[in-house]
Each structure stands twice: as C-alpha cells, then as structure tokens.
C-alpha cells in the first residue's frame, strides 16, 4: 500500500475522531508555502510566494480588474491619459502607510525613481527602464508619469512592477533596507518575520475603503514554509494549515476527496510550448528549418491526452503561445489536430520518410516531455530529451546551442500578448524563427497605444507563426489549491491567489 493510500484510508477511517480545526477560533489563517519567503520586499524577488505576500502588503497606483481586463484606480482615485505617453494619477485622500504616516505624491515619485534607478538593483527595474522617462508631482494629489515613447503596456507595468514605497525607505541607498522590516500600504501589515519560520500578518486598520482590493475578512494570516507535500498534507489533516497552492495534481485530488479539505482548481496564465530552431542557428540544413517537418511535429503531439492525463485540473490544450483570455490572443489560427497519419505524410513530403533525430532540451515536467517524445516517436522522429536545470538551459540558449527547447511562460499574470514579446522580437535569444515580419509586427504593437491597431498586428503575427509552425504550443497550466472546508476560496483568473479574499464559512 502506498503512503498516500495509507494516509487517505487511515484519515477517512479516523476523521470522526479528528480535532476540530482550531484556527477559526483565534481568527488565524495558516497558509503553507512550498518555498520560503526570503525577503519582505517584493521589489527584490519575483517568486510566486513573494507576489502573494506583496499583494497583501503593497499597493500600486492602479490594479487590473480581472473581470473586465481594465485598469482601475488603487492608490490613485483616478487616472487620465494626457497624451500617448503621459498619464496623470490623482491620489485618494487619507492614504496611510502601515506606520501611520500619510502616502504622498513624493512617495509615489520616489518609488518610480527608485525602481527605475539601475543602482537600486530591483528585480522590477528592467521592466520599466525601457520606457520610463520620469515621474513628477503636479500638485498635492497628482503625479504625472511620462514614457519616452508611446507604450501600450504602461499601465500594466505600473500595476505590476511599481510597488509604492515611503520616500527615503532605502536609507543611504541600501537595497536591503526593507528585507527584514517592512512598511507598506496593503490591506495587511507584517507583524513578524522569521526566515524559515514564516511571516505573520495582521489586518491593517488604516487601509483605505473603496479600493479594488478586499480589505480582508480574517484578522491574522500566517505564511508558513513547508517544503514537503506529505507534511503539508498532514498539517491540513491535523488542522495546522488552512490553505496551500501549487499542489501537485494527484496530491490535490487525493486531498479533495477527504471530508475536511476542499480542492479548487483554476487556470494559470502560464503556457508551455517548444521553441524550434527554425532559423537553423544550430544547423542551417537541420530538419526543423523545414516548414513541413514542423507541421508534422505539431500534428504528432496529442495535446488533449497530455492535458487529460498529465496536466489535469483546469489545464487546456493550446495552439497559440498565449493565454486564451488575454488581449491579442483572440485570433483564429491554423490548429494542428492530433493526426499521426498526416504527420507521417508531411514528413515523407519533406524528405524524411524514416524520420530523424533531434535534441529537445527541457527543464520542467519531465513526464510530460517524455509523453511528447513518445508521440513524436510514433511518427518516426526521435526526440532525445536533455533534461537540465533552467539556468543550464538559459546558458545553452544564450550560446545558440539549442535545436529545440521547452519554455513555460507566465506573462507576469498580465492579460496582454505583449508580455511574451521576447519570443518574437529581433535580438532576443528566445526568438529562433528570425522572421522579420513577425519581429516587425510585435515591435510595432509595443510602440502604439491604439488597441485596435495592436490587435490587428498581433493577429497577423500569430497567424504567420501558426501557419509556419514556428513553435509547438502544448498546453496552458492548471493551478491547484487546497483549503480547509471551513474557508471559502475562489481560484483567481490570473493565477495569483489573494489571501485577503479568503473568509471563514
């Protein structure tokens, strides 16, 4: 009997003897993270754990409305486009930092300047330096932000990357000033942080009303790092943990079958696909430079079965390298249905009736990539899997050594195709098609704020990419959450769980 089966059987048998989940009585939600939070400052980490924490503790000028896809005021009561590259933000009144001090326009300007300053070494700076020209205080409540050129993702970047910091927070320019003690503006304030033991947060009484974020229904939230899923499972069953995310599909399903745990699944913005050496960087005469070969590979992979049996949850097959709900992705493109016969015909037509061999470098979900290789083997193509660490893949990619590589792109939870541009624009080592038209369309779409024009450009680009089978799109990821039955939780549309929206049943 497996450990999991033993666990399930024993717990179901003894569930009536289990103690009542205790956390509701002291109004404390315990969330288990698979990885540790290594800094409280979200400007210096892009881990999913830090994004969840930052959502609770930091606010930006604007937030995305997940239902409409529009950007709505957060710290800013409203915003106005002055021209194609300038936005005025008007701050709400009565905003406070967690230490009780008011949020001022100087703080907003400081935040922009700090993040954009290369010497501040934030993990967010690289995203805004490309367009940011400056931020100035217009009056007591208005901040003007200007881009160097028209840039359509300006609001996105401000909503995702420009977290508000109190002016002078980084004393003497020290980037680590907020690593251990943090002063933010979010609906929860940090009361303790012990690296390894986790973070404790309490509802912030001074949080502004009427904003897009929920104020929080639970008084205290504890974020506990528990690296082993078996231990998380045991804690959920014994009442030591109320919520966890990123749970492996089989574990989540087993847990969801238990009376004291709910399993919720939602989509992730992350998509998985193979990048093929279309341009012949590794071999100018290589088989992947042949369009018919690439189309054959696309026909050979059974995406539906991979999603059904290996991805699970809310995962779905894709035929474009984008999240189906995002701006720019709503285009009808050539879809290569699973058809091994057609794939063999295409291979023969391309001059490879007996197939060929190539190296497929991967770094995630080995079982899934084995399934892809098995599908390709069915049509006579041998994909030798070279499963490595991401850093090794990045190094080989930068050196132009990869015939085909796996990628899983998360779009920074941004509902806009522009967030994946580096697979399509010129000069990026992730772009292995080198199609000047596609490169030009993506570049142009990043230089105009006219959404209709952008949509048209993306449609042209995605159509060409699919027709030429430059890539081998696979699936959109699923995100599994488990939580105790005494809590309510809804899977977010963008894959970023908001713990302040959890409440007791």
């Amino acid at each position: 009997m497996s450990v999991k089966a033993l666990l399930t059987a024993s717990v179901i048998a003894l569930s009536s003897a289990m103690p009542t989940l205790a956390d509701q009585t002291n109004d404390t939600l315990v969330a288990a993270f698979n990885k540790e939070v290594q800094t409280l400052d979200g400007l210096y980490s892009t881990s999913r754990e830090n994004l969840i924490l930052s959502y609770l503790t930091s606010d930006q000028l604007v937030e995305i409305d997940l239902e409409t896809g529009e950007y709505v005021g957060a710290l800013a009561e409203s915003y106005t486009w002055v021209d194609d590259r300038t936005i005025d933000f008007t701050l709400r009144e009565g905003l406070q930092f967690h230490d009780g001090s008011p949020v001022t326009v100087e703080d907003i300007v400081y935040s922009f300047d700090w993040i954009a300053d290369e010497s501040s070494k934030t993990r967010r700076g690289a995203f805004i330096r490309g367009w940011f020209e400056g931020a100035v205080a217009v009056d007591d409540r208005t901040v003007r932000v200007t881009a160097q050129n028209p840039y359509p993702l300006m609001l996105r970047d401000i909503a995702v990357f420009v977290l508000t910091r109190k002016a002078g927070s980084y004393v003497d320019g020290n980037p680590d000033a907020l690593t251990q003690a943090f002063n933010g503006t979010g609906p929860y304030r940090i009361t303790s942080f012990d690296m390894g033991a986790g973070v404790t947060l309490e509802k912030f009484d001074g949080y502004y009303e009427g904003g897009p974020k929920a104020e929080g229904a639970i008084e205290t939230i504890q974020l506990r790092p528990i690296p082993d899923w078996g231990t998380v499972t045991a804690e959920l069953l014994s009442g030591g943990v109320n919520w966890s995310f990123n749970v492996p599909d089989d574990t989540a399903q087993d847990l969801g079958a238990l009376p004291m745990v709910d399993h919720t699944t939602g989509v992730s913005t992350r998509v998985s696909f193979l990048v093929l050496d279309v341009a012949g960087v590794t071999d100018p005469e290589g088989p992947l430079t042949n369009k018919l070969v690439r189309q054959a590979l696309n026909h050979a992979v059974n995406r539906e079965e991979i999603v059904e049996f290996l991805v699970g949850g809310s995962g779905r097959p894709i035929h474009k390298t984008c999240n189906l709900d995002m701006f720019g992705c709503d285009v009808d493109v050539t879809e290569y249905e699973y058809n091994p016969e057609r794939a063999r015909e295409l291979l023969a037509e391309a001059g490879y009736p007996d197939g060929f061999e190539f190296e497929m470098t991967t770094y995630r979900e080995r079982p899934i990539m084995e399934a892809v290789a098995a599908d390709l083997a069915e049509i006579g193509v041998t994909a030798n899997i070279n499963h490595v660490k991401l850093s090794a893949l990045s190094k080989a990619r930068a050196e132009g050594q990869l015939e085909a590589f796996q990628n899983a792109w998360g779009f920074y939870a941004t509902p806009d195709l522009g967030a994946i541009s580096n697979y399509y624009v010129a000069g990026s080592n992730r772009n292995l098609h080198h199609d000047a038209d596609v490169e030009g369309w993506f570049k142009a779409a990043l230089e105009t704020v006219d959404q209709d024009e952008r949509a048209a450009l993306y449609a042209q680009a995605l159509t060409r990419v699919a027709d030429e089978a430059y890539l081998l799109p696979l699936f959109q990821y699923s995100q599994n959450y488990v939580h105790s039955v005494d809590t309510t939780f809804e899977a977010p549309a963008d894959g970023l769980p908001r713990l302040n929206e959890i409440s007791w049943q």
Partner: protein, 305 residues
Amino acid sequence: MLKFILKRLALGLAVAFTVSLATFLLLNLAADPAAMVAGEDATQDAIEQIRVQFGFDRPLYVRFFEWLGNLMTGDFGDSYYWKQPVFDLLIDRAPVTLTLAAGALTVTVVVGLTLGVLAALKPNGWLDRFALSFGTAAQAIPNFWLGLILIILLGVMFPILPVSGDTSWKHFVLPCLVLGTSSVPQVLRLTRTGMIEVLGSDYIRTARAKGFRPRQILFRHALRNALLPVVSVITIQIGYKLGGSVITETVFALNGLGRLAYESILGADVPTVQMLVFFFALIFIVLSILGDILNAWLDPRMRVE
C-alpha cells in the same frame, strides 16, 4: 606525535581547498548563475543586469580567489537569495541543526547500545533476533518514509506531537527519532559483536568465577572494553547527523542548516551553498583528524605509518 598531527592538519587543509574548488566550479560551470538568480520569466536584459550586479561577468578564478581571500578574513559573503550575510544565516540556523543532531545522536546511542547489549546477552535468542531485525529494518527504511509514517501515526491519527516546525521541544521528537533511527544499526551491531566477544573472553570468565554480580561484570568490565570501536563510529555519526539532516529538516519543516542548503540549492544561491558545503566538509575533516589523532594516541604504530 607533533609531526603526525601537523601532517594530518596539512592534509585536512588540502582536502578543504579541493572541496571548495570543486564546489565552486560545479556551481558556476554547470549553469548560468545569473539566469538562475533572475528566475524563470526574466528577460535577457534582467539576466545581464544581474550578471554585472553580482559580478558573474568576471573570470572564474578571480571570483574563486576573492571568495577564498574573504573567507580567510572571516567574511563569508552575502547571500543573493536570502539578502543577508551568509555568516548570519549560518548562525541563525545552526541551533536547530545542533539540537536535531544532539537529539538524534541520543536516540542512536541509547537505542543502539541498549539493543546491542541486550542482544549480546543471549546470542540467537528471541531478543537478539528482535534486535537484529530491528537493525535491518532501520537500515532499510528511508528517512523520508519513516518520517511520513511517524507523522501519520503521531501527528494525524493520534495527534500527540506536532507535525512540523521547530518552536518547542515537542517539535524535535519526531525528527530526532527519524534521524537517530537511521544510525542505530551500526551502533547496535558493533556493540553486539564487541559484547559477544568480550563476554566470551578469559577475564570475564575469571570475573564470573570470582563471584562478581552479573551487572558488575556487564557494565564495569565488559561494556567498557566493547565500547572502544563504538566510540569511533559515534564520532563519525556526529558528522552525519550535522550534514545529513537535509531530508529530515525538509520533511519536518525545521529551520536548520539542512533546509537552508536545500532552499539555497533550489535558489542557486552560490555563496550560501558554497559556504555550507565547505562547512559540512570541514566538520568531517575535523572529525577525521580527531579520530586519527585518537587512534594514533591509542596505537603508537599508526604514528609511524
């Protein structure tokens, strides 16, 4: 003797240097540390910025000797991942690992010695067979599996002990049992073998003939002699307990050096991983040198070798 000690120290230093160099090369050559630090969705610009920011663009030998030079002056460097001096990280996490190691060693010694002695009293008796079966099982069961089973039994089905964490002594009971059990077989078998040999020796027979009480014979005469090889094994086990706690700390979410190593490896935190490997290697080197010196002190022939 002094010459012998100096030779062993020099050898230890050479081993420490080699371990450091090998670790450094493996960490830096196998992958792009800048890409690892930048994360999965990082742009090429972000990766390049990190490469310059953390000095990954400089030649390997420059970075290695800089690290070595800093180490000599007590500067362990700063962690990329944890945003703290590595020294502070080690100091913060060491108490948990030391507590775990001490508890596990206690389990190993108490259970191993007790079962070993009991088994030797009547070889091939039911107690002996039980002890040997227990030893075989303890050796065969992986730590993570035993950990999960104990969690299910004592944390979930009969919730008398906490499942994970390290905020009270209760949190250490299960991990100490798991980590300690894995070393019981070595101590048990050595004790059993030593005791059987000693109990069958002439001087024990003489002691019995002189009318000493069995307890006196067992503890005052037999056990003291049988323990000599066991002590050497226990010394090495201290190193294993300190360095081998990665899985146990991970399963029980203990905030110690083992888990620090696990998370740092996942986060490609070169300075922390480098220092931890060096630290664990140093423990084994020091214990080996102490063992050599002890043996040389006990047996002068070894000094000549």
